[in-house]
Amino acid sequence: MDPRLSIIEKRLANIGRIITVASGKGGVGKSLIASTLALSLSEKGYKVGLLDLDFQGPSAHVILGARRAYPKEDKGVVPPEVHGVRFMSIVYYVGDEPSPLRGEDISNALIELLAITQWKRLDFLVIDMPPGIGDQTLDLIRFMSRSEFLVVTTPSKVALETVRKLLKLLKELRIPIRGVIENMKSIQSSWVKEQIDALGVPFLGEIAFDKNLEDSIGNADKLLETNFANDLEEILPKLQL
């Protein structure tokens, strides 16, 4: 019997809402949207946590510039605050090294993180997911069925095809979907919106391709001033947070 499973619910008990930023495809801006969303909610005065579950390609720490942060031990581990956000990532334990984990090991590492992390009281926990519908997505559905999905796509047909699969799975399992954001928009087209509408999922809005965004990576204050963050800010009311 795995003792960790019975404690996960207790660890998440004082968290108001769990927002999971996901996509079927990599490179669509999930980590940037998750990190900026967490920073923005924190700026508004909420208690916010950010959990990077992308074990094989963690990047939220790079976006936040959290290289020197490390959790404290107090009946488990307490995530450090980075720009006001309680930030947890496997990166504290694997550093910059590659993490070649297989399915069962991914599940085990995820369960361990959920079982030992003491978030304390949070208004929001934002989760930065790896791409696809693999282990972390299935485990998240298993352990956090109240989590609300914020799905990211780009104008690309390739990205949308994978997003379609993720949305289908979430709908089948009756997991709450807040809606879809179209990121990296560069030309006017309503094609993605029409596709999402046809799936019966809320289309939340667009974020224009921001060529200056790269300069703000690692600098949270600068990130919140980008056009990217402004576009995301306009979408937030539709998330009904």
């Binding site: 019997m1 003792p3 504290y92 085990n108």
Partner: protein, 141 residues
């Protein structure tokens, strides 16, 4: 300490399972402690004791007679590439304090810091001895 979180999880599982199985008094709980996670037994035992006291409030006699038996399990690793099997203890002493601590918190960090001694591959399985596991819960209904 990290041991506290695991001890709390063990006692929470015992209470939850006893309720499910309609056990009135738990008599014995057997715990396997995998070597890979490098649990500090003294801290773990103390944390178990405190967790039992905390959980016992409002549970009547459920945990009053409970005895906890802890068995240590050596960690065994097996390479998926060349099939070589080896005990983690061979490599444990070669790890830095930082690497060792990372494996303590997340045993899967072993895939970052341990390699097959024969073919140097990181693609291996943890056959046994990963972490804390409840082997059995005995009690009276």
């Amino acid at each position: 300490m990290h041991e506290w979180a695991l001890a709390e999880a063990v006692i929470s599982t015992v209470v939850e399972t006893s309720k499910k199985e309609k056990i009135r008094e738990v008599t014995e709980v057997k715990i396997e402690m995998g070597e890979l996670q490098q649990i500090d037994e003294e801290i773990f035992n103390f944390a178990l004791k405190v967790s039992i006291e905390e959980a016992a409030r409002g549970q009547g006699d459920l945990l009053k007679k409970m005895k906890i038996k802890i068995e240590k399990e050596s960690a065994l690793l097996k390479c998926r590439i060349c099939g070589h099997e080896w005990p983690f203890s061979d490599q444990a002493k070669e790890l830095s304090e930082e690497e060792s601590e990372s494996i303590h918190f997340i045993p899967e960090a072993a895939y970052i810091y341990v390699r097959c001694p024969e073919c140097k591959s990181p693609d291996f399985d943890i056959i046994k001895g990963r972490g804390v596991w409840i082997d059995s819960i005995k009690g009276t209904r």
